[in-house]
Symmetry: C2
Subunit: 337 residues, 2 copies
């Protein structure tokens, strides 16, 4: 493995010149810079990570804490982990994965051993022990999701409130008055999971603000429960003409199956919007209008904030990512009575 000394010798300069030529932190003659660069490439020089951490001030590593609970929806979770890693690489950062049982101990460990320059906290629930920890740890941190008390923290998340209003307004514009929201299992809300609650609350308040009746139901994820929840939501004379779904992929698929079985056609009899989905709703038949939760959008913003503030913690803030409506034909004007 080539060291900086090897490069210096090959280029006929001192090691400090190599360092400056490669980092650009001092002006170096173009001819020298080129010689150094050539030598580095031809020797396959890679700076020793440990030496860099020791001498320099950066480690080029972020810690990512991504708890995996049994009720975590793995595909979405995975997409976020991946999006964070990809965003980090764009800034020349690697990702160190902290597991759940290591969440707090691991955070303290990597922070105080100065293994990482910063921390990215994923999938925050309303009460999250990691939040209190990073608030005290002093290590630069960015949170993806909005904790109950974001005091002192930089947080990034899709603007679920705006997304929900966008869905409702879009439906209202098409003449829909009776809307329903199908959500996650009860447990999710009870645990204080963040955005499902925000969607539910916004749905109820914004429909009320518009003077519209809004029906909401939770649902377990197995197909029987989904069908029952849907039937309940659609029961009675005043059947909703529009459905907003904020639930996982298999549940949305089951809903479409069940509507088909009940001969309720989309969008003729029922308009549907999928909110905050991380998967591709055009694979469904029919394809669904969606206000997606785009992991890359959120994670890019989060990493940008963190990188920009280094070596200091980012300024406290709650940064919302604007929602984006994607029409795929599952919304139609309300049918004539």
């Amino acid at each position: 493995m080539a060291t900086i000394h090897d490069v210096a010798r090959a280029a006929g300069v001192s090691i400090s010149t190599v360092s400056y030529a490669l980092s650009g932190k001092r002006s170096i003659a173009d001819s020298t810079r080129r010689r150094v660069a050539d030598a580095a490439v031809s020797l396959g020089y890679q700076p020793h990570a440990g030496a860099r951490m020791l001498a320099g001030t950066r480690t080029q590593i972020f810690a990512l804490t991504a708890p995996l609970r049994h009720d975590t929806y793995a595909p979405a979770h995975m997409a976020f982990v991946l999006a964070v890693a990809t965003a980090a690489r764009r800034h020349d950062y690697d990702i160190l994965l902290l597991t759940e049982d290591e969440a707090t101990k691991g955070l303290s460990r990597v922070a105080s051993s100065r293994l990482v320059d910063g921390v990215i906290v994923l999938d925050v629930s309303v009460r999250d022990e990691r939040i209190a920890l990073v608030q005290n740890l002093g290590v630069p941190t960015v949170v993806i999701g909005i904790p109950d008390d974001p005091a002192g923290l930089a947080c990034v998340d899709l603007d679920f409130e705006a997304a929900t209003r966008l869905a409702i307004d879009g439906l209202a514009d098409r003449g829909h008055r009776r809307m329903a929201l199908l959500g996650h299992p009860d447990e999710i809300y009870e645990r204080g999971s963040n955005f499902p609650i925000r969607v539910r609350d916004t749905f109820l308040s914004h429909t009320a603000d518009l003077g519209l009746p809004g029906r909401f139901s939770t649902s377990e994820t197995d197909s029987g429960a989904v069908r029952a929840a849907l039937d309940a939501l659609l029961a009675g004379d005043e059947r909703p003409t529009a459905l907003i779904m904020h639930c996982q992929e298999s549940v949305q698929a089951t809903v479409l199956d069940h509507l088909r079985d009940r001969k309720i056609s989309v969008p003729e009899d029922m308009s549907i919007i999928s909110v905050g989905s991380t998967f591709d709703t055009t694979k469904f038949s029919p394809a669904l209008d969606v206000i997606p939760l785009i992991p890359a959008a959120t994670c890019d913003a989060a990493v940008d904030i963190l990188v920009a503030s280094l070596p200091d913690p980012p300024d406290p803030r709650v940064q919302y990512v604007a929602p984006e409506y994607r029409a795929n034909g599952s919304v139609a004007p309300v049918p004539a009575p």
Copy 2:
């Protein structure tokens, strides 16, 4: 942040004594060791990761390359990533996550910057560019899964062949002669995905060895396709009396739905064994007999091999994890004609 000097001063010894007392690499008087340990704790001392990497020979970090393809089954994938991280922590190792588009470039980078002591390669497909790379890179590596050409590599995987035979033999012992295997989507086999192919081939060869008819079908994952595939598998006079499933959770759930719809009861009319599943088959109704793929078992073995061999690459080998049969009541003796 306390350094080793602070600890040395607090304990009234030299820094080398602190180092030896903490690492145990030389004999230190018990009283001294205790004083050092106390000082370290009360100062909250954590060795500087960079300094350790530079001076020592270990970084206490493994790279994990875990590609995420669109057809990857995220929950299983996630479980493996988690199991690797957990196993690594037991040996005081952290996990650096390498993403797919970084697979080869990232591997070279972290290896030649000596950021990691070893590499764990997850989810190997038969032709995998990462394999050739780690074969040449010289960095200690362990592969989870069996590549086409494992030359020079240490590989760990569930013994899918033995698992498949175990399922067949168990059914044969109960008098079953007509068995069917429901597998993954075609694409998986075409891509050369490793273990689905091993299960399929073993199923076909072992049933043949026993002189039994073995029916095999692939299936897409959507419920319509699953039902069609199952109908095809069960068609004809000589309907199979037993079904082995080697497919993802939702497909297995659909199979049970469909059997129920067709009034085929389990296990009275049809015995079922789930092979190589990473999820809990007792949540189904009925609960299914299973020969599980236990991420922790495989990953523990993999990490053990890697840690044991450090700082050298592990001896080349293919280590199979023995399958384990879990009876949950979905297998019965073949019904009287």
